[in-house]
């Protein structure tokens, strides 16, 4: 393509924007351009250095984060202070979404492993948005519901598997 035209119709430029990044997150899939613009105005972009704690287990959470760049490690810490890694999240992943609707304690800690940019969506902003702009907020909430339902489904499938395994191993032990 002619560089002159490609400079004018800069398709890459849009991919750099926060709105485009948000549209890639499954929770916000259903939002149109205008609503993405609205979402852009209620999220907070936060910069973290490497090895910085985002939140720790037992905190009362106040929102969810998605990763724009960098990596975040989710881990638990036992009584002796020994850490067990639960997940290593990368660009486009999100975490802490349970705290978006109600103040529940965080069930794990999050720590960046390299310089990271997080996009946070917090409960107080969300509550205000629900009052002021019900339509896009409803879409966000439906997206959140979808994500959590998926996870619940996954969990119950896994639980079923585990039950069957347990039954099988008990049968083995009985024989």
């Amino acid at each position: 393509m002619n560089p002159f035209w490609s400079n004018i119709f800069r398709s890459n430029g849009y991919k750099q924007t926060l709105a485009y990044f948000l549209s890639t997150i499954p929770m916000f899939k259903e939002l149109d351009d205008r609503e993405l613009g609205f979402l852009e105005n209620i999220v907070h972009v936060r910069n973290y250095e490497a090895e910085e704690i985002v939140f720790s287990e037992g905190d009362v959470g106040s929102g969810m984060y998605s990763i724009r760049s960098g990596k975040v490690q989710i881990f638990n810490r036992d009584e002796q202070g020994k850490e067990t890694e639960q997940a290593l999240l990368e660009v486009g992943d999100f975490f802490g979404e349970v705290a978006l609707t109600a103040s529940r304690p965080r069930c794990a800690s999050a720590r960046t492993t390299e310089p990271t940019v997080l996009v946070g969506l917090f409960r107080s902003d969300m509550l205000e948005a629900v009052r002021r702009h019900p339509v896009p907020s409803a879409k966000i909430m439906l997206g959140l519901n979808r994500v959590i339902s998926d996870r619940l489904l996954q969990c119950s499938v896994q639980l079923e598997d585990l039950k069957q395994q347990l039954a099988a191993s008990q049968k083995q032990a009985d024989e």
């Binding site: 936060r46 009362v60 202070g81 917090f122 107080s124």
Partner: protein, 376 residues
Amino acid sequence: MSSQSGMSRAQVAVLYLTLTAAIATGIAIYSSASTVTVLFKTATTGLFLPLLLSLIVSFLLDPVVQFFEDKKINRTLSIFIVYFLMSALIFLLLLIVGIPNWEGMINALKADFPRYISRAIEWLSGLLAVAQQHFPFIENYDLAERLRSTSQSFFGLILMETPRSAIKIGSLLLLVPLFSFFFLRDNRRIMRSIISLTPNRYFEMVLDIYAHVSWQLSHFIRGRILEALIIGIVIWLGLSLTDIRYAPILAVIAGATNLVPYIGPLIGMIPGLVIALVDLGMGGQFWWILCVYVLIAQIILDNFILIPILISKVSNLHPLWVILAIIMGGKLYGVMGMIIGVPIASIINITFLEIHQYRRTFNLYNRYFTNRGKLL
């Protein structure tokens, strides 16, 4: 030698120059620091009141602007609509009720004031004479004379301040709508940019506390202003049923002093009672006026209807703090400071209470320290 130090002569010269310049600048800044604060103080005098008033106005108008914004009108346009509606409303009110002749009234009051004072003092000395018959030892206190001198000096102060405050009010009429326009339009952006300055570790906490505090504050400010407005209107209506003069001025005084809890309403009713006593005598009208001030405005309307509906219990201040706030406000900004001192103290109180509440529920210690006392 230059080869030993690894620097050419020119570089050394530049280094010396830079260092000298840096030290000189440091000394200059240090010595002029007091001048800078003085300059800063001079530059910002007189800005406090317009900023405060425009904040209050933007708090009051925000729900109305929000109403239009919900109708899918963009925010700037809705602010203009609200401004237009407000000015139309004021214009209509003036057209219907008729412009109260403020200037004439104030001039008449200026002429009448010494008369009221002297009559009040006469009445007081009569009371004092009776008291002296029963308690001879208070003869030494020349209460009447002291009262006369203080009231005269107070009145002189008001006379002096009136032209100056007229200029002030003119600039307020210009500045307050301008400031509140920007506050209304950009309040979210301003607050977001301030909050985004907090370090990552405290960010969630600050955001939550801000949400709580701003909710409480907007309710408190709206409640107080509405309360004062309603009390003022009721007193105006009640007073205009009688023959008393200066009903609008008395209503404004009663409404403004109503912003100060406990003491305000008492002070606010004194001028009305004095004027009623002097002009109308101790008749049925006087008792009706007293009834309007105390029973209707304060007890029935304020205590039983307005305060429970408009003002939450959170903002209750201890009477001691109220008195301290009045004194400190008076020292800083005169009569105006006395009126706005208590609301500002309540605002600070609400902020502290919210933070305290937050710390209790969220337990900061556990949040940032592990059980081994190590900072996470």
